[in-house]
């Protein structure tokens, strides 16, 4: 068991490297993830959270370096050397105990005070003159309603830049977690409860989000693509959504329209202006204007939509949309129609 001091030194150095390597990685890790939140707050809300996190991580890093530093100094300095007698049998030191009780407590106060301030800042938003969005989680997709504007859509919400949005978050079945990291923290969508969230987006663009509470089979496939539009873009989107009318299909997708309205689709899906007013599935009004479908799972292409309609289960496990056993031709026609709804 007793080894030459040489090899112990090597062990210690190795241990050090193991510890420091990941840290070094942390320093130079430039995130390439579209869903990252760290270092990428794009709203006032997200900025509050990031600011708080920055402060904590600063304190945590100091604590980490100091405490691990002392630990390793102790390990190095007091490793056993040959020919030593018994070390002095110290039992403790009350001053030290008081010191290392108080110092961490004080350090924590620097976290606690801004934390409490931020808690009250982030709860219960003032909703006057805000864009109101009702978020409803379903197994396994998101419904977005804009009650003041009379708009209903799914999976791809839009927000105007520089304007405060207040969101209420509910669930239609089980608990889901609503999270768009770039715009703000998450809140759970809980049956029997209505949660709140708010943000004022600061930058236009596309934001990834995802369900964060386990909601069974396709929990991993319950994603969100949010869009922050400039003022013109937002106005255009709102107007188009309001005036959308799916009952005047272009001639080349007429057949798809017929098929859609005569099949079971209408029992579950709504398309504004058409007889389709089902509430079970996502609202398909202006489906063609969405970049993705299946809750962020697939690019909105003709092939993808066709194969979705042909076999939803294969496209998304567990999916509540039944396979209606349409022919390839019919499915393709419907897909063409849906994609024409811009």
């Amino acid at each position: 068991m007793e080894e030459a001091p040489r090899s112990k030194k090597r062990h210690l150095l190795l241990a050090f490297a193991v510890l420091l390597l990941p840290l070094a990685l942390a320093g130079c890790a430039e995130s390439t993830s579209p869903q990252a939140w760290f270092g990428r707050p794009e709203s006032d809300f997200a900025r509050i959270l990031q600011g708080l996190f920055d402060r904590i991580i600063l304190i945590a890093t100091i604590v980490f370096v100091v405490v691990e530093g002392i630990l390793f100094i102790a390990l190095f300095r007091f490793r056993r050397r040959p020919g030593q007698g018994l070390p002095s049998q110290t039992h403790g030191n009350t001053q030290l105990e008081i010191g290392w009780t108080i110092v961490p407590a004080v350090a924590l106060a620097f976290v606690a005070v801004p934390t409490v301030r931020a808690i009250f800042e982030t709860y219960h938003p003032d909703t006057t003159n805000t864009v109101k969005v009702q978020v409803i989680g379903h197994q396994w997709w998101w419904e977005f309603r804009y009650p003041d504007l009379g708009i209903v859509t799914a999976n791809e919400p839009h927000f105007p830049v520089g304007q405060k949005a207040t969101l209420t978050i509910e669930s239609a079945d089980v608990i889901h977690g609503f999270w768009i990291p770039g715009l703000g923290g998450k809140r759970d969508a809980i049956p029997t409860r209505v949660n709140e969230l708010w943000w004022t987006p600061e930058k236009t663009g596309e934001y990834y989000g995802q369900c964060t509470q386990l909601c069974a089979t396709s929990h991993a496939n319950m994603r969100i693509r949010a869009f922050v539009d400039d003022q013109n873009g937002w106005n255009a989107w709102v107007n188009a959504m309001k005036s959308a009318n799916g009952s005047q299909p272009a001639p080349d997708v007429q057949r798809g329209y017929q098929l859609f309205t005569t099949n079971a689709c209408v029992g579950c899906h709504t398309i504004q202006g058409t007889p389709a007013n089902g509430q079970v599935g996502p609202n398909l009004t202006r489906f063609g204007a969405r970049t993705t479908f299946g809750a962020g799972l697939y690019q909105n292409t003709q092939e993808n939509v066709t194969s979705w309609i042909l076999d939803p289960q294969a496209a998304k496990p567990g999916n509540k949309m039944p396979n209606l056993h349409l022919s390839e031709e019919d499915a393709s026609a419907i897909a063409a129609y849906l994609r024409s709804l811009k």
Binding site: H11, V18, L19, P22, A26, S31, T32, P34, Q35, A36, W37, F38, G39, A46, L49, L52, F53, A60, V67, E68, L71, A74, F78, R79, R80, Q84, L86, P87, Q89, H91, G92, N93, L96, E97, T101, T115, V116, I119, F120, Y123, H124, I175, G177, W179, G184, G185, K186, R187, D188, I190, P191, T192, N195, T212, L214, A216, T217, H219, A220, P317
Partner: protein
């Protein structure tokens, strides 16, 4: 039990077992009420479950190694991580801790057994029954797949129609029974069976942490039991406690679960902290620094544990006052935890540190647990947690505290007490390979998870697209997981080899300070020929080195320890000559006069009854009735058999 009965006879010849005249056949294991053998059974079974939980983890990591992977389907994936967590927590780490309670506590306090030896056997067998029940879903209709905290209302019959959640609810109730029985037993044992002179403040810290953990178990488990009863009623009978359409509130489940769940995580860490508090002083050749403060901070952690549960629910939206209160209480826990860390470092400071394998694990515990603790403090700030909650940042925290903390700590314990239990030392060379592979694999597996969290990867997702920027970290993490697996194989090899061929340990291979090292390795069935009288917190040390080593607290006086067999085998690891030659012959009374409890098979019978009772609720009520009858017969047999 085949592995046990083959492993231990191999261990026995390590010392000329003069007094050992009882059999080690497989039947004797089924009927044993000896705390040491029950401890071995707990340890072996728990380690088996650790391998099961680890294989589940490896499957999880294999699925996540690359984007869009299809090794397992989504529902299997959900079952895998659910069972991984349940197995690790309830079937591996808790019982592994209990194994140490069993093996070490009576020896450390100078007792001949626990207060209720048959109850102890009952705990073990009920634990086995619960473990089997929980895992039965794999072969019988589907394992639990709603996550280890199983948030309602996903667990309702409507959304989880299979039997998985029934196995969850009933399995955990049965396991809770085992934990409760064990914890009550250890509370009584520790309070009431200490050797003369061993005041509370002379108890080894490990014994203290056992006491605190047991109190936590006794207070936390009834809460989850009630929650599980309500869930069972919802699912089996048709009440609506957690069913929104019937007026139920799913958030009540969250509260009940975490009122239990947070104390539970301290139930998992405090025993490991106790182990560390024994190992560090031994290999620093110094007393534990600030003994009183280490003890009090353990008590403080336990006390605070009941006031922080809602820090798991910051995204639930409880309101600003609630969030603030729970946040502050949570941060407060960092203070007593810090006190422990600093006192451990204080113990190292000025010592003569011997880097044996147990010591390496102990030191790694401190180092890694700090990382996990600090990420805990990051979650403790609710607004900041709104970004971290339910991401891999949390998964990183979980594993830095549970693996970097508990597993490393318990590993230190295994290397430390293995010689006491088997009479042989684990191989140091292989031990070091095990250690470094584990440490490297562990950091590879779990450090990248912090970055995954910052990059927005939610936990519990069975797949992810390729363009999320998560690919490298996930691959590294998977490699790390397999490195841990390799390390574990090294350990297994070392274990089976050393049981038979390891260096003979002698009574006190580490030159330690506490009572268990004053008796032979392995100890005779009655532990102490004569119950020692204790005058300080380091009785054996003081006996070996005189009082100048032991002054300070606990009242002076040389530590009088009844002489055991000592000195026949020179220490294999360089313990000082004092220990090896101190007392040549012992003055104990003849072992025949020591009264030992009789073996009993009733504990096993009752446990089987409990198993039938619980599984009948899932399968068919008549089975439950049979179970009740078996329990009744068992209790009767128990009550009227002479306890010895």
């Amino acid at each position: 039990m085949a592995t046990i009965s083959t492993a231990i006879p191999g261990a026995m010849p390590a010392r000329e077992a003069v007094h050992v005249h009882h059999d080690y056949g497989w039947k004797s294991w089924l009927m044993t009420v000896d705390h040491k053998r029950i401890g071995i059974m707990y340890g072996v079974t728990a380690f088996g479950f650790f391998l099961v939980g680890g294989i589940e983890a490896l499957l999880v990591r294999t699925q996540l190694a690359v984007p869009n992977n299809t090794v397992v389907d989504p529902d299997t994936f959900n079952a895998l991580f659910t069972m991984h967590a349940l197995t690790m927590i309830f079937l591996a780490l808790m019982p592994l801790s209990v194994a140490f309670f069993n093996i070490a506590v009576p020896l450390m306090i100078g007792a001949r057994d626990v207060a209720f030896p048959r109850l102890n056997a009952l705990s073990y067998w009920i634990f086995v029954a619960g473990g089997v029940l929980l895992n039965l879903g794999w072969v019988s209709g589907g394992a639990p797949a709603d996550g280890w905290f199983a948030y309602a209302n996903l667990t309702s019959k409507e959304f989880s129609p299979g039997p998985g959640m029934d196995f969850y609810a009933l399995g955990l109730q049965v396991l809770g029974l085992a934990s409760m029985a064990g914890a009550l037993n250890f509370i009584v044992t520790i309070l009431n069976m200490r050797a003369p002179g061993m005041t509370l403040m002379r108890m080894p810290v490990f014994v203290w942490m056992t006491l605190v953990t047991s109190v936590l178990i006794v207070l936390a488990f009834p809460v989850i039991t009630v929650a599980l009863v309500l869930l069972t009623l919802d699912r089996v009978v048709g009440t609506g406690y957690f069913v929104p359409s019937m007026g139920g509130d799913p958030v009540l489940w969250q509260h009940l679960f975490w009122i239990f769940g947070h104390p539970e995580v301290y139930i998992l860490i405090l025993p490991a902290m106790g182990v560390i508090s024994e190992v560090l002083p031994t290999f620093s050749r110094k007393p534990l620094f600030g003994y009183h403060f280490v003890v009090y901070s353990g008590v403080a952690i336990a006390f605070l544990a009941f006031g922080v549960w809602s820090h798991h629910m910051f995204a639930t939206g409880l309101g600003p006052i609630a969030d603030s209160g729970f946040s502050l209480a949570t941060m407060l826990i960092a203070v007593p935890t810090g006190v422990k860390i600093f006192n451990w470092i204080g113990t190292l400071w000025g010592g003569q540190i011997r880097f044996t394998t147990p010591m390496l694990f102990a030191v790694a515990f401190i180092s890694m647990f700090i990382i996990g603790g600090l990420s805990g403090v990051m979650h403790a700030s609710p607004p900041a947690d709104l970004q971290q909650n339910q991401t891999y940042f949390i998964v990183a925290h979980i594993h830095y505290v549970l693996f970097g903390g508990t597993i490393l700590g318990l590993m230190a314990g295994i290397y430390y007490w293995f010689p006491k239990v088997t009479g042989r030392l684990l191989d140091e060379g292989l031990g070091k390979v095990h250690f470094w592979l584990t440490l490297i694999g562990f950091n590879l597996a779990f450090f990248p998870m912090h970055f995954l969290g910052l990059d927005g990867m939610p936990r519990r997702i069975y797949t992810y697209p390729a363009d999320m920027g998560w690919n490298t970290y996930n691959l590294v993490s998977t490699i790390g997981a397999f490195t841990i697996a390799a390390a574990t194989l090294v350990f297994l090899y070392n274990f089976f080899r050393s049981v038979r061929f390891g260096a003979v340990a002698g009574d006190d291979p580490w030159d330690a300070a506490t009572l268990e090292w004053s008796i032979p390795s392995p100890p005779p069935e009655w532990n102490f020929d004569r119950i020692p009288t204790v005058f300080s917190a380091r009785p054996l040390w003081d006996e070996k080195y005189g009082v100048e080593g032991g002054h300070g607290h606990g009242g002076g006086g040389g530590a009088l320890v009844a002489a055991g067999h000592r000195g026949e085998h020179a220490s294999a690891v360089g313990a000082p000559a004092a220990a090896a030659t101190a007392v040549a012959e012992h003055a104990g009374e003849h072992p025949e006069h020591i009264h030992l409890p009789n073996p009993s098979y009733w504990p096993m019978v009752i446990a089987f009854g409990v198993f039938c009772l619980a599984s009948g609720i899932i399968y068919a009520l008549p089975i439950s009735i049979v179970g009740l009858c078996i329990i009744f017969v068992g209790v009767n047999g128990w009550a009227f058999e002479p306890a010895g």
